[in-house]
Structure formats: C-alpha cells, structure tokens
Amino acid sequence: MSTPAAPAAAPPPLDVRGVTVRFAGLLALDDVSFTVAPGTVHAVIGPNGAGKSTCFNVLSGLYRPSAGTVRLGAAELTRLAPHRIAALGVARTFQNIVTTQGTVADNLMLGRHALSHAGFAASALRLPRALREQRAHLAKAREIAELIGLGAHFDSPVALLSYGDRKRVELARALCLEPRVLLLDEPVAGMNAAERTRMTGVIEEIRAELGLSVVLVEHDMGLVMRLADEVTVLDFGRAIAHGTPDEVRRDPEVLRAYLGTAGAGEDAA
C-alpha cells in the first residue's frame, strides 16, 4: 500500500537559476545558478559563510529568494511552502541534528508523513484504514532503518543514541520520504574517522540502490572528491566555479577562495 515507486524512475533535473537572497543589505546568495543532473551527486562547497546552508534553505522552501527560480522538472519550488516541496519528493537533513522526541521509529514515521493520509478523525477513531496504513509504513520505516544500519536501535529513544547514530537517524528519516532529491547538509560533520567512512559508504549505497539525485554540502574534501560527480564552489554568496572534482581542484579561483594560496584539493589529499 502506498509505495509509489518514485525512486525507480529517474528523478527530474533540479534547476537553480539566478537565485539571490538578501538579508537586510547582506547579500547571502548572489545570482547563483547550477543544475543537478538526474541521479548524480552534486556537491556545493565553499568556505564558512559562503552561503551553502542558505542555498539549502532556498531549495527546501524555508527561505524565499528575492530573485531567481528553483525548478524540479516542471514544478517551481520557489513558489511552494516547505511541506509542498517535501510532497514533491525533496528531503533534507540538517547541519545541526534536528530530531524530535521519541524513538527512532517515531522519527522515521515522521518521514512517512507526506506519504500517508490518516487525518485527525481517522486516527482518533482508529479506523481500520488508519491502522493498516500505520502498520504498512512502520514496516517500511523498519526496512529503511535496517538499510542505514539502525535496525538494532529502531525502538530506542533518539536521545540515548550516539552523535553518529543521530546523524544517521536524520538521514534515515529523510529517506523515509522516498525522496527523488536528497539534500544532505554536512552529513559527516563532527564525526570521527570510523563514523565518516561508514557514512560515506551508506551514501554511496543509497545512491547506487535508489538512483536519486543528491545535493551535498560538505567541508570534508575527501568525501566530496570521492562522492561528487559535479561540484559548485560558492564564495561570498557567488558561484565561483563549476565542474568535476578534478577540474574544481585545479581552478585558480577556488584556490584563492580557500586560504588564498593553499589548495582545497591538496588540503584533503
């Protein structure tokens, strides 16, 4: 029941055109454009304060840009409220973990919200339809938890989990939405080496199995170089370079943005 096989079909391209965001005189994003090709991993990198998170907030509908458009296939995301964007299959994680109270299961079931229908009346009266729906989605959520390696913690309160596990709860919750586009905001920030390797493996696996597009903001250049098909570099709100990881790594403009002379690529290699 209600498992729209969205991930199987190729996701539509995500097209960002001339997006500008102004915060009372501060130009957070200045005419930024890039396109996320279907089924690829597109990294957005840049120094702190370059506008990466602002860009994500525009993509997920939390900020409305003062100019420019974001399109997912035919739908224009810039006109939509966050919950409508979620319903179109755009899911995201947050840089600082944002989970809700309760167990891992509760959090993952929140991810199923947009895919389920039981309203106040149906849930209050515990109509068979609502109970059946809940059971089906719970099974699906468990499946996803197992895919991410959270199976053993499914019924544990999120508050008791380690930092790395909570990061993974966020990823699993986003996946529960059965997204066509997945926005990952610093998925390995604050993790130790072992957790990083594991998370990188998980992201690679997701992408291979589900065929969704991934937009990735990350400071860990090793991860970016390993996962990304394409990279957009932001600096002071402007997109200063586009290209494959190798091209970007050699771009003089990028080298200048990162510490003036020291290169981003060498930094990680």
Binding site: A81, H83, A86, V98, H113, E133, S156, L160, L177, N192
Partner: protein, 386 residues
C-alpha cells in the same frame, strides 16, 4: 505480539480499573460520586489541553472559554429559552459548537506560536466572561441558568423518571451521571490515544520540537496548529457540557481565568504530553479542594467553613497545598505524575530481570531499550578510538 496472553497482560490492568470504576456507585455516596464526576469532566478537558499544550507545544489560557461554550451551548440548545432540542442532540451540537469556536480562532491559533498564543487566548476568557454576563437572553446573565437534564431514549439522567433501583441501590442523578461520565471519558481516552499514537500526534510532536524539521518533512504547519486547537476546543466543550450536567446550574463566574490556570496546573502536575498524566493531574486538582473542604475540621490550622476565625479557610488551604504540589513536582519530577509512575515501573520491572529467573518474563521493549543503551556504551567507546 498479539497472542491472547500478552494481550491480556497488556490490557488487564486497564480492564480491572474499568470494572472497578463501574462498581463504585454501589459503594460510594453522592459526595464521592460528585467528586468523581467533576474529576472525569476535568480529565476530559485536561486531555484536550494536554493535546494542545503538551503535545503541540501551544500554550492556551483560553480553555475556560471553550468549557463555557460547551456548557452554555448545551444549556441553551436543550433549554428554554433556546431551540429546546432533544438534550442528546444538544450535547453533540455543543461539542461541535466549541470546535467551531476554536475554528473561528484558528487564523490566530495557526500562526501564533507557543507562549504568544497564550497571550492571544487570554483575550478569549475576558471576552467570554463579558458575553456571559451581558447576553441575558441566552446565558441568564449573572445568575446563570439551570441545566436541563440529559435524556437518552426515554431515560433521564436525573433523580427520577424512570425510578431506578439496581441491586438494592437507588440510582439517583449522581449514579446515572457517573456512568455517563465514564462513557464520555472512555471515548476521550480512546480517541486521544489514537490521535497521539497516529500520524497527527507525531506531526504535532514534531511541530513542538522543531517547526523547521516538521515542515520539511511535509507537515502543513498552520493547518496542524489550527487542527490541534480545534480538537482541544472540542474536548473542552465536552468537558464543559458534562460539568454543566453535574453542577445542574451554570454561572459565569465559574468560567474565569482561574479555571484556565487550573487546567494548566492539571497537565503540568500530570505530566505534559500524555493522556494518563492529564487524567491523574485532573483528578488531583479537582478532588483536592473538595476533599479539603469536607475534612477541614480534621486538618490543623484550617478553619471550618463559615466559622471565619483567624486561620485560613479550606479553599485557600487547598490552593496552598496544590501550589506546593506543583512546586514539588516541578522540582522532583519535572515530567509530572506520569513520568514518576513510568520511572517507578521501570525500576520495579528491572529488578527481577537482573536478579532472578523472571528475566524472560514481561519486560518488553522500553526496558530492553534502556539496557541496550547502557550496554552499548563500551562498544561505542571502542569505535571512538580509531
């Protein structure tokens, strides 16, 4: 999971309590039954407020207003002057009316958040009180109105008509209303728990914990906030109607700001975000003043009603006591009576599983989760050292 024995173990205590509650009218006199009735009505209202303030994180000081809408709605719809509808219909309509009143407020309730909503709803109480005092033709003004008894298929929830004696116990108004209260409370318990465990409950919890996370996960923020407000108002309306039936007279002064604060006290004392907690808090806050009044002469420092001596009266004394109870609970059990009960239960069920052969017994998921987390720590520490 669903084999009959575990089901009985899970449902057993609930069934036992239900049986006990059904048996009580045969043993208790009208005074105790009245306390029970008020407690049940308060519990229904508290569950509604708990849904809004505990689960969705929206403060409301306007609960008294919606209780008044339910109470006066029933009286007017069933009474004279008024359309004089059959009382059962009037009861249902009164609940819907309270919901509609909540819906009218939803442009505010959907947009205003947390404590700010508390301030906005404050206005409702004053507005409501003013209307109750001035709209004489509907509300009876300062003196209020008497409440027409509920009738259901020829059966009247009052002293007589029909005269009724069950197992040698004469069934007066209190006994009859007791069962009505039980049924209405059971409905509340069933629906509220269904809501909380279902999709809407999770969405409301998410709204409380992080509006941003809720919205990017697909929750329509304004709609869910309004819906929580409407549902909470409907429970308040039901509670108001039941209160009216138990009091047999409604007066405006009852529905004051203090009543709203009482309901907030109930859900804080009981423990935010749980139906059982709201119920426990409601019983505590409702029963305490009544019991203190009754047994005032046996308490030190408390004057008997009407004696007017230098010491404090029973009503004030009970206020002090429940003020003290709130402070104690906030200090020692910030998650309220419900949290206290849960932790006690966890401690009791952990002990046998450590010591004895009972271990494989009835210690289900939550217990396991706790020990899981504890035993996981060393394993994770290993992971931290690369």
């Amino acid at each position: 999971m669903s084999d009959p024995r575990t089901l009985l173990l899970k449902r057993g205590p609930l069934l036992l309590v239900a049986l006990l509650l059904c048996a009580l009218p045969f043993y208790l006199d009208a005074f105790w039954l009245r306390i029970g009735l008020f407690s049940m009505a308060a519990a229904i209202g508290a569950v509604g407020l708990g849904l809004l303030s505990g689960t969705a994180g929206q403060l409301s000081l306007g609960h008294a207003f919606f209780l008044a809408v339910g109470a006066y709605g029933y009286v007017w719809l069933a009474g004279e002057p008024g359309p004089g509808l059959p009382p059962a219909v009037a009861l249902v309509l009164a609940v819907l009316l309270a919901g509609a009143a909540g819906g009218l407020f939803s442009p505010v309730a959907g947009r205003v958040k947390g404590i700010y909503l508390g301030v906005a709803t404050l206005a409702l109480v004053f507005l409501g009180h003013h209307v109750l005092l001035t709209a004489d033709s509907v509300t009876g003004g300062f003196n209020g109105r008497s409440v027409p008894p509920l009738e259901l298929g020829g059966f009247t929830f009052a002293e007589s008509d029909p005269e009724l004696t069950v197992l040698g116990v004469p069934f007066g108004a209190e006994e009859r209303l007791w069962y009505l209260g039980l049924v209405l409370f059971a409905v509340t318990w069933f629906t509220a728990r269904g809501l909380l465990r279902g999709r809407p409950g999770r969405a409301l919890v998410a709204l409380r914990d992080s509006e941003t996370a809720a919205s990017v996960m697909g929750v329509h923020v304004a709609r869910y906030r309004s819906a929580a407000f409407v549902v909470s108002s409907m429970y308040a309306g039901l509670a108001g109607a039941l209160l009216a039936l138990s009091f047999r007279r409604v007066v405006p002064d009852y529905f004051s700001l203090a009543l709203s604060v009482d309901y907030l006290a109930m859900i804080v004392i009981g423990g935010l975000g749980s139906v059982a907690g709201a119920t426990a808090g409601a019983v505590f806050v409702t029963a305490l003043p009544l019991l203190m009044t009754r047994y005032a002469d046996q308490l030190p420092l408390v004057a008997t009603p009407g004696s007017g001596g230098g010491s404090i009266g029973p009503t004030e004394a009970s206020r002090y006591l429940y003020g003290a109870a709130i402070v104690l609970i906030l200090l020692f059990a910030p998650d309220g009576l419900h949290g206290l009960a849960r932790r006690t239960r966890a401690r009791l069920s952990r002990r046998p599983s450590v010591t004895g052969p009972h271990g494989s017994g009835p210690s289900p998921a939550p217990e396991r989760a706790g020990s899981d987390a504890a035993s996981d720590t060393p394993a994770r520490a290993k992971e931290h050292t690369p």
